[in-house]
Symmetry: C2
Subunit: 465 residues, 2 copies
């Protein structure tokens, strides 16, 4: 119902060009009536059974058998491909096709419905010699990672992308249902959040674009804290950056982080409750909505791995292991990945909270527990099986005098005068945490390399496309 205002006052149609392109051959009979177009997810669940339908997608497998050719056609709408039965004609893996035919119950065991093809139109062909994925081969995650522009065409990576999309929905749903306001915290920032190094600088050649040095954000926390002076529950979910010179299985230069900030906190438990609820809720959502895709990973990609939010939280396992912690570092040292994994394993491979870290190890914003002589900060990490640190959080120092003193010691009082303002005007006890989204996916799926759970991994010496 919008108006089209064009020089020619008409909308250009490309139909003619489309239908005459490529190979098009009729099988059995040509159907005059326009068939309904179904997505593969609809067809495999038997929608329009017995009707003449059209399905569009890419050929994921080809199997000649006697007089027939069995194709699996997929359009990304589900892991399950639609089985198409055609007369024996040459069709290659990876081709794009448009199939018209009758949807019927399948006499074969592996799928309830199949499409008996009347007509297969090859929309775009695919040279099987040049195409890097081969028929009947199960390619490893390492192999497909070499083709960042094509790996979404494999079953494993298209499952991953559907899971990632659904997990994103799950995170947003959790926060929305719990009254959090979503804030788009900035990617470009003039603060470095923790005074830590490893920053990417943002520049325009030969220009002082922003007048001040500008960086890619390492965390949206400080910007969320701005908001927690007016909204008692806020969150952000977006890309964050580390210029870490590492090609390890654990690090990316660009990754996604979920961060939340809660005002009027009484203790760390106000945070750990949100962290636990969110983790549980998002995990349950993904397992419920992507059962087939998650199964593919657990059966074929990372065999042996299982996840269940129920099992993770079983109180009896927790109680049995609660006295067994052997913390293999001296007090005052930070936890390393090996220690984190050890702790998680020691607790029976369930998620574990570690709280109250040495004050001097934590950034300026962490709240002082004032518990001399130990002197800890009200900080918390959530460790999970296989991954180590999944979330890190803390109560924030809301007391102006304490915060001012600590920033003063570091010579940062002027830099963070705006942050001190937040404590000058209606300061409240508050705290927050961040969760590495890729690590969450690794934890659910048992995927070892972080590069395999993100669409376009960026890391040291690697930024194709």
């Amino acid at each position: 119902m919008f108006q089209s205002a064009a020089k020619t006052l008409s909308v250009a149609t490309t139909t003619a060009a489309t239908l005459t392109r490529g190979t098009s051959f009729s099988i059995r009979r040509y159907c005059q009536k326009t068939p309904a177009t179904l997505r593969v997810s609809e067809a495999v669940s038997g929608a329009k059974l017995g009707a003449n339908v059209k399905v569009q997608g890419w050929v994921r497998s080809v199997r000649p058998q006697k007089a027939n050719l069995f194709l699996h056609v997929n359009d990304g709408s589900s892991l399950q491909s639609l089985q198409v039965v055609a007369s024996s004609e040459l069709l290659t893996l990876g081709s794009a096709v448009e199939v018209t035919g009758t949807l019927r119950k399948s006499p074969r065991q592996r799928q309830p419905f199949e499409l008996e093809a009347d007509r297969i139109h090859v929309v775009g062909d695919c040279d099987p010699v040049d195409f890097p994925f081969k028929i009947k081969e199960r390619h490893s995650l390492e192999y497909i990672r070499q083709f960042p522009h094509l790996r979404c065409r494999t079953n494993a990576f298209s499952s991953l992308l559907r899971i990632r999309s659904e997990a994103t929905t799950a995170v947003h749903s959790y926060f929305k249902e719990n009254g959090f306001v979503q804030i788009h915290t900035p990617v470009i920032t003039s603060n470095d959040c923790e005074g830590a190094g490893e920053l990417f600088q943002v520049e325009v050649k030969g220009e002082k674009f922003f007048s001040v040095p500008a960086f890619l954000t390492v965390s949206g926390q400080l910007h969320l804290e701005v908001m927690s002076g007016a909204f008692s529950r806020v969150y952000t979910f977006g890309p964050t950056f580390r210029a870490e010179n590492s090609q390890s299985r654990r690090h990316l230069a660009e990754f996604y982080m979920v961060e939340a900030e809660v005002s009027f906190t009484q203790s760390l438990e106000d945070l750990t409750k949100v962290m636990e609820d969110m983790f549980r809720s998002a995990t349950e959502h993904v397992l419920a909505h992507c059962a087939e895709d998650v199964d593919l990973f657990h059966k074929h990609v990372t065999p042996g791995h299982r996840v269940s939010p129920q099992g993770h939280f079983a109180i009896d396992i927790l109680n049995q292991s609660s006295q067994k912690f052997a913390f293999p570092t001296d007090w005052g040292c930070d936890l390393q990945t090996e220690h984190e994994k050890h702790l998680v394993k020691h607790c029976g491979n369930i998620p574990v909270f570690v709280t109250d870290y040495p004050y001097d190890l934590k950034p300026f914003y962490a709240r002082d527990n004032l518990d001399h002589p130990e002197h800890t900060a009200a900080a918390v990490d959530l460790l999970v099986p296989g991954v180590g640190e999944l979330c890190g959080g803390s109560l924030r120092e809301e007391r102006l005098d304490l915060l001012k003193a600590r920033l003063g010691e570091a010579g940062l009082e002027d830099t963070y005068s705006w942050y001190l303002d937040l404590r000058r005007f209606g300061s409240v006890p508050h705290g927050g945490f961040g969760m590495g989204f890729e690590r969450f996916l690794q934890c659910i799926l048992g995927v070892d390399n972080i590069k395999d759970v993100i669409a376009f991994p960026r890391f040291s010496h690697s930024c194709p496309l």
Copy 2:
């Protein structure tokens, strides 16, 4: 039910410190029983009427009257603040308070429920001299923009942030309900999408971090096109960047874009349908879920502005104006903002599609209509009242030979060999569009300056915080 593994095996509590801080005074009687904590949005709708409750938030107004003090307390959960009736005590605008008392029907007209305070605890005070917002004053958007770390504490900007959060939900809901998979396209990229200038470079001091020049993305389109070789419907929604040296009301260095890509398209109408549906659906969602917040803008911030997705699409207005277009540029020239606004106004201030632009004005990926002598590309813009271009899209050139020839002419065949691969292996007719999310909000709310619809605006010579 998570396990706490700490040096002391206990979670530090900050309760003692919290309750002794600040001024705390009892009014009438002190209540021993722990009162239920309500959010302001719950209290103003009369939840727990007659019960003893606790509300936490910030003082948004103070009005002494006879023996009583009337406060408005807000915690960001709704535009409406909770009216608190207390004995006359000194409380300042901007202070954070915790109020305990009885929720009762209000004898006053302006709100149905109010809280009769038993006890007001000042959690964090606020010096009225230093605080930039003053009691009983309505500050302009220009004024509050000077305080990026505090402006969320005004009614207008907290409304904006709630609307922005809800509009984000609306966009995701639309795509999810229509079977689109969300892709996190990368922020850091080695391609510049359109060969256009105005790129931010990403660097690490003294290091060739990525081995190749890396930039902040100007569009996720090419990465979405990768995905549209396996998923017939994909979208992305995230930050995009332009190093445009402009401080105009229309430009930001960092802004949000919604982009979608649809495979197996027949014509531009497959795109305009999605653009129209998304625009309508998101607008309706925001108007339905943020009625009060949107009203604030229409009544007080941008008086005179109204938006209604119904009105926009009225077929009779469209038909009446369909013959009146006077396109004040010569064929072959691009549309300028003034022309776009003129077109929209000419159509009766409703959204307008402009299609089939001169081929030579469009980037290499736009599909050639092969309509000599005009020679147009299958591109489309959606123009909306007050804003001009809201969306831009096109069918993409899926024919390998045509694409290869055009890239060859521009000397880009090697750079985009991965993009040509997408046409080599199972290419399909497809197209997509992008919508400027800030412009969408401007269109709904009638906000003139784009800096007023984003949490932390970044532009030429401005990157505070």
